[in-house]
């Protein structure tokens, strides 16, 4: 062909592990560095502060929930017409945060992105703790939590079944499946590392507990082979699962006909929003953690840069959702749809809507610049802003839509009470407490997957043939 260029290959072959692990580590030092955090290193003083704050806030959560059991959900701000308030906002917010963990561990595993190896473990832990926090809300929102087992389809003396046409029962299936599969995925992923802790532990009780959890893992090649297959299959299952979970959460709203809820874009928009919020939370946790435990070599700037790019991409998808929602409300020519957007922009909750546009749409655009993506303080600030923004988004969807529906005579405003706040802040405390316990007791970075990306782990191909 006429202008076929003469091929001159690039000077150096791009290595896939560039920048995701500082040089100079060996199997030995890497193992000892991560394992020692759980086993032998002195617990830093900051840990006690963090875990203490988490513990105290958890106590506040328990107090608020106990009072709720005595008095009923009237102590919350929910009432007609806003029957879903902070509780559903927080439920969706927490579930969304959980999604990044699954995304990092499952989708990035399927895409063979080795940079995930140092953040997947605590991202998965984050998923489980976030789902645990999320689960508290609907469980108590039923008003009679001791009858929550009615949600489960089982043959009963009343002869009744859940309504399988309702998104709320879909949610029960989706969230419980998600919690179960996440837990399985997390635990299976940890088995080889638990074996490492078992073999490195000095104290008897640690040997026994880690030993039982490791289930006799011995690193046999046959086991590894099935283990790898199982990991890939689980990742392949977890990926559609994570999408389905937030899709079902979006159906909770979209299957109804309230303006502001009944939008067909909701499923992908909620999923993108969940990943967005989740990555913001991963950054919020990773940035202080790597500093606190000196893990800058393992969670490098390359990781933060990649996460920032995902944050930008998912933020743009969420922004697309806002634009399309606003456009369609105009294009529909429907009075209620048009009023819905007007009300968001000018109504009693306009500050929440404008703030959410700033947090989710404007602020993250800074991530287009490499300088911002490479600056730790900036990233931390943006991640915090997105955490707030995504909470506001759910607030706008839940509260603003319900407060102004079809009939002006049934309009009403919502105001959170001190118990709403106590429960919300309490779950943040529970999350922190669980996270700090996890960091202290379990390997927060996947040791065996990090070993696999060390340069010395490579088995040369020509000898592998023969």
């Amino acid at each position: 062909m006429a202008d076929a260029a003469t091929p001159t290959p690039p000077a150096e072959k791009p290595a896939t592990t560039t920048g995701i692990l500082a040089p100079g580590y060996s199997f030995t030092t890497l193992t000892d560095k991560i394992a020692s955090i759980a086993l032998s290193r002195r617990t830093p003083f900051v840990w006690f502060i963090g875990a203490g704050v988490g513990f105290l806030l958890t106590m506040m959560l328990l107090t608020a929930l106990t009072w709720l059991l005595f008095r009923g959900i009237g102590i919350w701000g929910v009432n007609q017409p806003v029957g879903w308030g902070f509780e559903i906002v927080n439920f969706v917010w927490w579930i969304g945060i959980g999604h990044a963990g699954t995304l990092i561990s499952a989708i990035l595993l399927l895409l063979r992105q080795p940079w995930r190896n140092s953040i997947n473990r605590f991202a998965e832990a984050m998923t489980i703790f976030a789902v645990a926090c999320a689960g508290i809300y609907p469980a108590f929102h039923t008003g009679r939590p001791w009858l929550d087992y009615w949600l489960i389809p089982y043959p009963n003396s009343m002869g009744m079944w859940p309504n399988f046409r309702s998104p709320l029962i879909w949610d029960v299936f989706a969230v419980s499946t998600y919690a179960t599969v996440s837990l399985l995925f997390w635990y299976v992923g940890m088995i080889p590392d638990l074996a490492t802790l078992r073999d490195r532990a000095k104290k008897l009780w640690a040997k026994i507990i880690y030993g039982m959890l490791a289930m006799g893992w011995r690193g046999s090649a046959r086991h590894w082979s099935r283990y790898e297959t199982a990991s890939l299959l689980l990742a392949g299952l977890a990926t559609p699962l994570v999408v389905s979970v937030h899709t079902v959460v979006s159906f909770d709203f979209a299957a109804g006909i309230v303006p502001g809820w009944h939008a067909t874009i909701f499923p992908p928009y909620f999923v993108a929003g969940a990943i967005y919020a989740g990555f913001a939370m991963v950054m919020t946790l990773a940035i202080p953690l790597r500093k606190l435990y000196g893990l800058e070599d393992l969670i490098t700037m390359k990781h933060l840069d990649n996460m920032a790019k995902i944050l930008l991409a998912t933020g743009l998808i969420v922004g697309y959702g806002y634009v399309v929602e606003a456009f369609m409300s105009y294009y529909s020519g429907n009075t209620y749809e048009r009023f819905m957007i007007w009300n968001r922009l000018h109504g009693p909750y306009k500050h929440a809507y404008w703030a959410l546009l700033f947090c989710n749409l404007v602020m993250p655009q800074a991530l287009w610049f490499r300088k911002v993506r490479r600056s730790v303080p900036w990233l931390f600030v943006i991640a915090m802003v997105v955490n707030v923004g995504m909470w506001l988004e759910r607030y706008v969807i839940v509260v603003v839509s319900l407060s102004r529906d079809f009939l002006p005579s049934s309009w009403g405003l919502y105001k959170a009470t001190v118990f709403d706040w106590a429960t919300f802040i309490g779950t943040i405390g529970l999350f922190l407490a669980l996270m700090f316990l996890f960091i202290r007791l379990l390997p927060m970075i996947s040791i065996f997957e990090m070993r696999a990306i060390l340069p010395e782990a490579k088995v040369r191909e020509e000898e592998a043939e023969a």
């Binding site: 046409r165 879909w170 179960t180 299952l237 997957e449 040369r460």
Partner: protein, 178 residues
């Protein structure tokens, strides 16, 4: 041999390359009952040991199909057969709605099949295994690579196998008691 029964001979290597090489040589020498232990999965080792186990994907597929059938049957039977009730003007057999719980049970059953299948096929949990009798084996979960030729291998002979393993250039060769 008196005293505790011998489980096999174990050679310890310092890097994955040597282990893969040694495994291949042991297979070429005709040993069949052997296993390699490493602190992380090594693809070349799977090939060297000629491991071809395709059971797990089939187990997971079966679990998924079972889960899907169970999920749809649950929706259908409760809503159409056992307690038919019109809700929201929707037909008894509301297929679009039933797809959602069906999807979730499919994933749930398949995930359990993957985890339990992996553990079951691997024979885990296993409270006792002879390889742990070697005090150095604790390093298999840290930075060392082990090849174990078992005593029940038809070609196994303590002294000859010992000599064979020594030739492969290990750090150390040791007895593993049953």
């Amino acid at each position: 041999m008196s005293g505790p029964k011998l489980y096999g001979l174990m050679a310890e290597f310092e890097n994955p390359q040597d282990l893969v090489e040694a495994t291949r040589r042991a297979r070429e020498a005709g040993f069949t009952r052997l296993d390699a232990y490493s602190p992380y999965p090594i693809e070349a080792l799977t090939e060297a040991l000629d491991i071809h186990d395709r059971k797990l994907p089939a187990v997971v597929l079966g679990g998924g199909i079972l889960g899907g059938l169970c999920g749809y049957a649950l929706c259908y039977w409760t809503t159409v057969v056992n307690y038919p009730l019109v809700v929201g003007g929707k037909p008894y057999h509301s297929a679009p709605a039933f797809i959602v719980p069906t999807f979730e049970t499919t994933i749930l059953f398949a995930a359990f099949a993957a985890v339990l299948g992996m553990l079951g096929l691997n024979g885990l949990p296993m409270p006792y295994h002879p390889v742990f009798n070697s005090p150095r084996f604790a390093l298999a979960s840290r930075d060392r690579f082990f090849l174990c030729i078992e005593a029940r291998d038809p070609r196994f002979d303590h002294d000859e196998t010992w000599a064979f393993l020594t030739k492969l250039g290990p750090r150390v060769v040791m007895d593993v008691e049953e």
